[in-house]
Symmetry: C2
Amino acid sequence: MRFTSETSFDGISEQLFTLDGVPGVLWTPEGAAGTRPLVLMGHGGGQHKKAPGILARAHRLVAECDFAVVAVDVPGHGDRPKNEEYDRIATENQARVAAGEEPAPLIAGFQALVARRTVPEWRTVLDAVQRLGHVGAGPVGYWGVSLGCGLGVPFVAAEPRVRAAVLGLGGASASAEDAARITVPVEFLVQWDDERVPRAQSLALFDAFASAEKTLHANSGKHGDIPAFELDSMLRFFARHLG
Amino acid sequence: MRFTSETSFDGISEQLFTLDGVPGVLWTPEGAAGTRPLVLMGHGGGQHKKAPGILARAHRLVAECDFAVVAVDVPGHGDRPKNEEYDRIATENQARVAAGEEPAPLIAGFQALVARRTVPEWRTVLDAVQRLGHVGAGPVGYWGVSLGCGLGVPFVAAEPRVRAAVLGLGGASASAEDAARITVPVEFLVQWDDERVPRAQSLALFDAFASAEKTLHANSGKHGDIPAFELDSMLRFFARHLG
C-alpha cells in the first residue's frame, strides 16, 4: 500500500493510495488515532472513487460518525487503464440491446464478470486499510448502488468482516444466489420508476437476501433520483450497526 | 366537544373527550398555547384510541416535536357500543374465509363500509380540535396502519387539511381509487412476510398513490412486527413535512 498524497479539509483527512495497482482513497477524521468502524463504498458505472455521490456520503460518515471510509476505482474506471475485454463486452451488449434484447440480464452478466476481479481486490483493500493505526480492525460496512450493488452483493456474501450493507438500484438477474448467502442487516434502495432496473427484479433481489433484518426503501423517481433524506437514513443505519 | 378528564404525565397533557357520541383523546405538550401541527392517528382492528402503539407514537410526537395528537375510537371499538351490522358482516366474512374465500377483498370491503362513517367523523374531530387555543389551525398529518390504513386512505383522499400521511399494512383491494386521489407525501409501511396482507396488494396500493414524494419502507417480519426504528422514521417524516 503506497500513499501518494494526503490533504485535509473541514476536519477530514483524505489519503490517496495505490495497492497492487489499484488506485484508492481513504477518508478519516483529521488527527484520528485508534480503531474505528470502516465503510467500503463501491461507485456506480461510469463513475469513480471520488464521484460526488461517494464524496458526499464519505464526508458525512467521517464528520458525523467518526468512521473511516475507503473507495477504490473499479477496473476500467477512474484512474485505471481501459480494459479491452470489458470494453468489447460492453460494445457487444449495446448492440444486443439495440437489437431488442432485455438489458437487465446482460448488465447482470457483465457485473458478475467484473466482480470476479473486484471481490478479491476489495478484500485486499480491507486487509491493508485495517492494518493502519488510525483505522484498525473495527466493524466493517459496505455501501454501493447500481454497479456498486452488482459488485457489492458478491463482495458482501464473500466477506465475513462486513456486518451491515446499504445496497440498491440493482436486480436479481445475476446476484440472487450471492444474495441468499447474505445474512447481515441490509438497507436496500429502490427507485420506484427506475428506467434501468425492472421493479420486479429489484424486489426479487431484496427478497433473496437471507438477512433477518432487511429494510427496503422505495422512493418515487428514476434511477438517479435517490432523495437526499436517504443519505441521512444511511448514516443512522451504519451508526446503529457499526457504531 | 365535551372534555371528560384531563391528566398530565411527563410533560404531556392527555384530555379525554366525546364529540357527537365519539370518544376521543387529545395529547398536547403540558402548558401548550398557540397553534401547532396536529397528527390524527387511526388505530388498528380490535384496538382502540389508547392502544400501546398509538400511545407510544403520540407521546413521542408531543414530547419531541411539540405537536398535538388526536385519536378516536372506530365504531365497534374501545368505548363505543357494539355495532350489530358490522358484527354480522364480520361473522359472515369469517365463515366465507373458512369456506375458502380470499380474505383480502372481504377485509377491504368491510373497511370501505366503516370508512363511510369514519371519514365524516374524523373531519368533524379536526374541525373541533383545531378550534382549541392550544392546537389551532396548523398543518395536519395522518398516521394509521392496518385498519388505520384502510380507513386512512379514504380520509386522506377526502381531507385537504392533511399534508402528509404515514400509512401501511394495507392492500389495494378497495382503496386504490382513493389512493389515486392522494397527492401529499406518503411514507408507506410494508411487512415483507405479512401473513394478512398479500405482498402484491401492498405494493399495488403504494403504486396507486399519486404523490410526487412517496417512500415505501418494507421490513422483514410479519404483520405485527414493525421494527422500532420505523417510529423514529415517522417522527422525522412528520417533522420534515409539518414542522
